[in-house]
Amino acid sequence: MKHHIDINARFGSLKLDVQVAFNHELIVISGENGAGKTSLLRSLAGLKKVDGSIQINQQLWLDSAASFLLPTEQRKLGFVWAGANLLPWLNVKQNLTLGGRKYEYFESILEDLALISLLERQPSMLSTGEAQRVALARAMYAKPSLLLLDEPFSAQAPDMRHRLREVLKTWQEKHQIPVLLVSHDVEDAKVLAQQHWYMREGKLLKTITQKYMDKVKTND
C-alpha cells in the first residue's frame, strides 16, 4: 500500500478515528450526514488539526508523535469543496491558475469539463454547476499528489454528471493519482469506486474493495 492514514481527533461531538491504507485508487466515501466525511477530507488537507500520522506517496504529511506537520500549502493538493469557492474578483481563467501552479493537459481538461467558452467570465456570471466545474478543473489540472472531492458533482445535471464521472475516471487511470470522493450518489460509487468506504460516527465502518464490487456487478 502506498498511502497510510492513521488519525484521530475530536471535533465537537464527532470523534474521528480512521486507520486505513490504500493505493492509487479512486475511493468513494459515503455515510450519513455528520459521519465525519468532510472532516476526514479536511484533516487530510491539513485544514483541521488531528493526531496520528499521514503518509502519502512515501512522503510524510503528519507525524504527531514526532511533532511533524507538513503545512497544507506544501502538500500539492487538489481539493474541491461542496461550494465552488471561486474568488469573485478574478475571472475563470485567473481562478484556474491561482497560485501560479505549473500545468500540463490544461486545454484538454478545460475541454473535458466544458469550460473553454467560459474562460473570460466573472464567477458571478456562472451557474452553480459551471462554477463547480471550474473548481474541479482547478483541482485536477495541476496533477495533485492527492485529490479530495467533496460532493463535486452535486450541482450538475444528470448528463453532465455522467460525463464528469467518465472524465474523472479516465484522468485517474491515466495519472495514477489517489482520489477520495465524498458522495451520497450511489451512482458515483457504482461507476467510479475502486474502493468504497462507508463512514459512521467518525469511523470507517467497512471498506469494500474492487474485487468485491466486481462480484456485486456480475451478480447484478
Binding site: 488537507a45 500549502e73 487538489g78 469557492n85 474568488l87 474578483w89 491561482l98 497560485g99
Partner: protein
C-alpha cells in the same frame, strides 16, 4: 493660509503612506494570530483614540528631543533636529493615527471568508502570495477606508502637532493650528474660509469612506 494647507496635505500624505506599511503587519497579526501579549498590543494600538493628544505629543517630544536616544540618533544621521521639525510631526502623526489605519484593516481581514484563505493554502501559496492574491484584494474596501481615515484624521490633528511641531510658519504650522491663531487674532474672514476648506475636505473623505464601505462587500455579492 495656502502654506499651512500645503503642510497639512504633505503631513497627511506622508503619514498615510508610512501608516499603510506599518499597519498592514499589525492588522494581520491582530486579525489572525493568537499570542501572549495580544491584548497589550491591541490596547497599545487603540490608545491614541482615548489619550489626550497633548499627552501623546508630550511623550513623543520626550523621545525626540536632541539628547533623547531617538533625537540623538536622528541628529547624527541627518544633522538636523527631529523636535520641532516636519519629520518629527510625521512620526507623531503615525502614532496618533495608527488605530485609524489598523482597525479598519483588521476588521476587513477578519471578514475574509475562511474558505478563501484555505483555498490559498490548497493552491500552495505562501504568505506573500496569499497577501497579494487573496487577502489584499478581498479587503480592498477596508484598506481604502484605512487610507481615507488616516489621511482625514491627520488633517484634523491639533494638540499633537502643536506639541511636537511648535507651529513654525512655513515649516510646521498646519492648517488646524493656523485656524486657531487666526481666531485668536480676530481675522474672522480668513478663519471662516480656512474652516470651510477643512470642513469640506473632511466631508469629502468621509463620503468616500461610506460609499466604499457600501460598494465593496464581496461577501454579500
Amino acid at each position: 493660509m495656502i502654506d499651512s494647507l500645503i503642510i497639512s496635505f504633505q503631513l497627511s500624505l506622508m503619514t498615510t503612506v508610512i501608516l499603510m506599511f506599518v499597519a498592514l503587519p499589525v492588522a494581520y497579526i491582530l486579525a489572525f494570530k493568537n499570542f501572549k501579549g495580544r491584548t497589550s498590543l491591541e490596547v497599545l494600538v487603540a490608545l491614541p483614540l482615548v489619550l489626550p493628544p497633548t499627552v501623546l505629543g508630550y511623550y513623543v517630544l520626550l523621545l525626540i528631543q536632541p539628547h533623547a536616544w531617538l533625537g540623538q540618533t536622528w541628529q547624527s544621521f541627518f544633522d538636523s533636529s527631529l523636535a520641532f521639525s516636519f519629520s518629527g510631526m510625521v512620526l507623531a502623526s503615525v502614532l496618533y493615527s495608527l488605530p485609524f489605519a489598523v482597525q479598519p484593516m483588521q476588521q476587513a481581514f477578519r471578514a475574509v471568508p475562511r474558505a478563501w484563505l484555505e483555498l490559498a493554502k490548497i493552491q500552495g501559496m505562501n504568505l506573500k502570495q496569499t497577501f497579494r492574491h487573496v487577502l489584499l484584494p478581498a479587503s480592498k474596501g477596508g484598506i481604502w477606508v484605512a487610507v481615507a481615515l488616516s489621511f482625514a484624521h491627520t488633517m484634523g490633528e491639533f494638540g499633537v502637532v502643536l506639541m511636537v511641531g511648535g507651529s513654525m510658519p512655513g515649516e510646521t504650522k498646519v492648517a488646524s493650528i493656523e485656524l486657531f491663531e487666526m481666531v485668536e487674532m480676530q481675522q474672522q474672514s480668513d478663519a471662516s474660509i480656512l474652516a470651510l476648506i477643512l470642513l469640506a475636505i473632511s466631508f469629502v473623505l468621509l463620503s468616500l469612506v461610506y460609499s466604499v464601505n457600501r460598494r465593496s462587500s464581496w461577501v454579500s455579492s
